[in-house]
């Protein structure tokens, strides 16, 4: 097993990788962009590294941020639990849980998690060193979410923000619109199974919680890949109501039922055998009709776990940082906008983060 693990972090390797990255003058000298991700030199740790490393600080449990096989992991208790549920023994050699708003000092660097509102356990990383405060947003949203703590803006000198929906065409309508759409369709087509593609971690549980809030108390059926994470949410005190596994033999009985599955399952053999299925998908991407149509979605549900354009710009104003770095997503537009309000801004190309739900 040991031999198959990706390479351990090697300082020489880091130096070599740096040559390929564009220089970013907005980063303080103690933070560096490397091939593995953002590297805090004095603290000796990476934030959300793309490969297994010696010390990793993890913002949240999605697989493109929380990889398996690190030696030491620092994350919120919920994120630690998610990593353990997903990776088992490979979650990391030592897993250190740091609740939000507590400070952990690592070799002169202060590290603190602050809720990011993205999924259960998701956090921003607040780093302070040499009189400078840097906030790494991780993935975040500003909208109320019954399954996690809300985002708190932290004033800082440098804000490193995601930009998944960093174009002004992305302005997500209220969640109630999507929930109502799904329930209306269920009424209109009581003889059709409603297959809803939703990311297994976060989106699925949020959609269930939103349906419950809307008074829908029927059994919600799950693809096998969702069961463990729904159990984990419930164990962590998020009520999800009556859930049941939709096993192969039950597909034919799913007329008029809601069945949640990972988006990839919609186009897979798994989706065969349901009675005249309505293909739905819960994602911020569903706002662009062509995107939804490309994926063969009949019922697009705009529910996003990422900040939309208005939330992104509002957040940049809220944190009041004179410098902003924009990472994974549509960087160009947000950089352009930030510069327009007098903020120093650049794109920071962190590689390896996936589109939501892809």
């Amino acid at each position: 097993m040991e031999a198959n693990r990706p390479d351990r972090d090697d300082p020489l390797q880091v130096t070599a990788d740096r040559r390929q990255e564009p220089p970013t003058r907005l980063l303080p000298t103690w933070l560096k962009l490397t091939g593995q991700g953002l590297w805090c030199e004095p603290g000796g740790f990476f934030v959300d590294p793309g490969r297994a490393v010696a010390r990793a600080v993890i913002t949240h449990g999605h697989a493109d941020h929380a990889r398996a096989g690190h030696d030491h992991v620092l994350a919120t208790p919920e994120t630690v639990a998610i990593m353990q549920a997903r990776y088992g023994d490979r979650a990391g050699r030592t897993l250190e849980a740091l609740p939000c708003d507590q400070i952990r000092r690592i070799d002169g660097v202060s590290v603190r998690f602050v809720p990011a509102g993205h999924i259960l356990g998701s956090a921003q990383v607040v780093l302070e060193h040499a009189g400078t405060r840097v906030v790494v947003s991780g993935d975040f949203k500003r909208r109320a979410d019954p399954t996690c703590d809300p985002f708190e803006p932290v004033p800082c000198d440098l804000f490193i923000t995601e930009a998944t929906f960093g174009l002004p065409v992305f302005r997500h309508p209220p969640d109630a619109v999507a929930v109502d759409r799904l329930l209306t369709s269920l009424n209109t087509f009581p003889d059709r199974a409603h297959l809803v593609g939703a990311y297994a971690l976060g989106k699925a549980q949020r959609l269930i919680a939103l349906l419950r809030q809307a008074g829908c108390d029927r059994t919600i059926w799950l693809h096998g890949a969702l069961v463990r994470l729904c159990d984990l949410y419930r164990d962590r005190g998020v009520p999800l109501g009556d859930l049941a596994l939709c096993s192969g033999g039950r597909r034919k009985d799913m007329a008029g039922e809601i069945v949640l599955c990972p988006p990839s399952a919609l186009a897979d053999r798994w989706s065969r055998g349901f009675p005249d299925p309505v293909i739905a998908m819960a994602s911020g991407w569903m706002q662009v009709r062509q995107r939804a149509r490309q994926r063969g979605v009949e019922l697009p549900l705009v529910i996003s776990d990422h900040a939309d354009w208005d939330q992104l710009t509002e957040t940049i104003r809220d944190v009041g940082a004179p410098r902003v770095l924009v990472t994974h997503g549509q960087e160009d537009a947000l950089v352009h906008w930030a510069r327009g309000i007098g903020v120093e801004a650049d794109a920071l190309s962190l590689t390896g983060y996936a589109d939501e739900g892809e």
């Binding site: 989706s271 293909i279 662009v288 062509q290 063969g296 537009a333």
Partner: protein, 528 residues
């Protein structure tokens, strides 16, 4: 406007025809006049606005948004109406959205100076789907997968009438179609329309299965060549003439050479072809004339169009459709004899006495302009639609080529989880270095559901790379592809294009190395 916007949104995502029909019917049933009539007009493409054009949208968006942000957004979304609808930063209090009828009246108004202010006010009053609907009215082309025919079919089912009746009336009606809805709902008389220049729904043939011939008496049938053009109808009266496609689209303006000097009073059924010095050119010549709104002198000259007529539906106001084919044919022959228009010719009958005779002639016909034979019962009335029995098409045996499967794409609707669209290639010498596969076409039908499941399994097991919904597969499976003809094409890497390609057989047994070469395929190009 709200109902129309909701309809467009729902139609855009409804994958199947039946679902679209249900949505259309609900809209027509539940939306009051005159809004539903304007909705129908928008769906059938009968609305045009003299001054409300896409440039107006760009300039309005420019007044409210940063041009860089707009450009980046447009680049991402790829559709002007949708980008502007999503991006529009509404100002002022939300107000009651305007009814569709008022929007249409405003967009159609002749006062160009007032338009920007009025459209801005609409954009501010509407939500995102409302803005999308409004802007789609301006850009034209709703692109929600609804043809004029489908909209009429929904209407027909709503009023329990035949869609042919609606087609028949259609060209005498105008938005917002109050009379039509009143009739469909049993509140009014059947609109009279105007019958002179209107499109008459066509009678279509079914494909002949050769086994069926045994049960048919050759004496009951007339045979004609099946021309490789497009089916059209000419309606002429009072010195005016119109040319209609099979689905009732008015294509008159693209074919001035065909309708020139048509001063007669008649409705004709025939085939549109490119003909030079009496010789019918291959179909791809006709393609140079299709899909255009208007046509330039050069194209008219290089690709002269003509009609081969084979039926006479009306003559001097007399409806011949209830008369048998035999009588209509006699009238048509007499009618064409006294006509002297070079662009109109009579499609000849093919004389035969036994089916074997006819089969021999069909096999021997290698003429470029001929696709096969038509069989029509002498006693058949001209009835709209595709009744089984009176008319048959008996196509020439297809060309077949052995190709290698290269890429597979996931299908849609019922096939959404299956790799059902196939790109296949033939071998080409690669500068003496070796042979490489060059894509020569795509096919997505011709196989059974069981074969589809097998192909899907094969594709999943032989994937080399994935590009979104497309998989590149190992070049190991031979598909026998049938096509009607092969044409030179500058747009394809192989330099040729197949007409109507379909999967004839899956050659599980054949080694890919023995598939055909591009050279062999090129040899099948119709001699021009």
């Amino acid at each position: 406007m709200k109902a129309f916007a909701a309809l467009l949104d729902a139609l855009a995502f409804a994958p199947q025809r039946n679902a679209k029909l249900r949505l259309l019917q609900r809209y027509f049933r539940e939306t009051p006049d005159p809004d539903r009539g304007y909705g129908l007009a928008a769906l059938t493409g009968t609305l045009t606005f003299p001054h409300a054009k896409p440039a107006l949208i760009r300039s309005l968006v420019g007044t409210r948004t940063d041009p860089v942000l707009f450009a980046l957004s447009y680049d991402y979304v790829g559709d002007l109406a949708e980008t502007a609808a999503l991006l529009w930063p509404a100002e002022g209090e939300a107000s009651t959205p305007p009814p569709l009828a008022r929007v249409v009246a405003t967009l159609g108004c002749a006062d160009k100076a007032q338009l920007p202010g009025q459209v801005t006010a609409f954009l501010d009053a509407l939500d995102e789907s409302g803005r999308f609907a409004l802007l789609k009215l301006i850009t034209g082309g709703l692109r929600v997968g609804v043809s004029a025919r489908l909209a009429k079919t929904a209407l027909a089912e709503l009023g329990s009438v035949d869609v042919a009746e609606i087609e028949e009336l259609w060209h005498g009606l105008k938005p917002p179609y109050g009379e039509l809805f009143a009739w469909l709902e049993g509140r009014g008389a059947r609109p009279t329309g105007h019958h002179g220049l209107g499109f008459r729904p066509m009678m279509l043939a079914t494909s002949l299965a050769e086994a069926e011939l045994d049960a048919l008496d050759p004496a009951d049938f007339a045979a004609e060549w099946k021309w490789d053009g497009i089916r059209v109808q000419v309606t002429a009266r009072g010195g005016e003439a119109r040319l209609w496609s099979r689905t009732g689209e008015d294509i008159t303006r693209a074919f001035p050479d065909v309708v020139a000097r048509m001063t007669f009073d008649a409705v004709l059924d025939g085939e549109l072809l490119v003909v030079r010095d009496g010789v019918v050119a291959p179909f791809n010549h006709l393609q140079q004339r299709l899909g255009r709104k208007t046509v330039g002198a050069k194209r008219l000259n290089e690709y002269p169009a003509a009609i081969m007529v084979y039926d006479l539906l009306m003559e001097n106001g007399e409806d011949l459709r209830p008369r048998p084919m035999e009588q209509r044919r006699r009238r048509l022959e007499a009618w064409t004899r006294q006509l002297s228009l070079p662009q109109v010719a009579l499609s000849p009958l093919v004389a035969f006495s036994t089916w074997d005779d006819l089969a021999g002639m069909r096999a021997a016909a290698r003429d470029d302009g001929i696709e096969g034979l038509m069989l029509k019962r002498w006693d058949s009335d001209y009835v709209p639609g595709r009744p089984k029995g009176p008319w048959f098409k008996w196509k020439r045996a297809p060309l077949t080529v052995d190709c290698v499967l290269m890429y597979a794409r996931r299908g849609h609707g019922r096939r959404s989880s299956f790799y059902s669209d196939y790109t296949f290639g033939c071998w080409q010498e690669d500068n003496g270095v070796g042979r490489a596969l060059v894509p020569v076409g795509k096919a997505y039908f011709g196989f059974t559901d069981a074969e589809l499941a097998e192909l899907d399994r094969w594709v999943r097991a032989h994937t080399m790379e994935r590009y979104g919904p497309v998989r590149a597969v190992r070049p190991e499976l031979v598909l026998e592809i049938a096509c009607d003809s092969v044409h030179p094409s500058a747009r394809h890497k192989s330099g040729l294009a197949m007409r109507f390609p379909r999967v004839q057989r899956i050659r599980w047994d054949k080694p890919a190395g023995e598939a055909d070469t591009v050279e062999a395929l090129r040899a099948l190009i119709a001699r021009v």
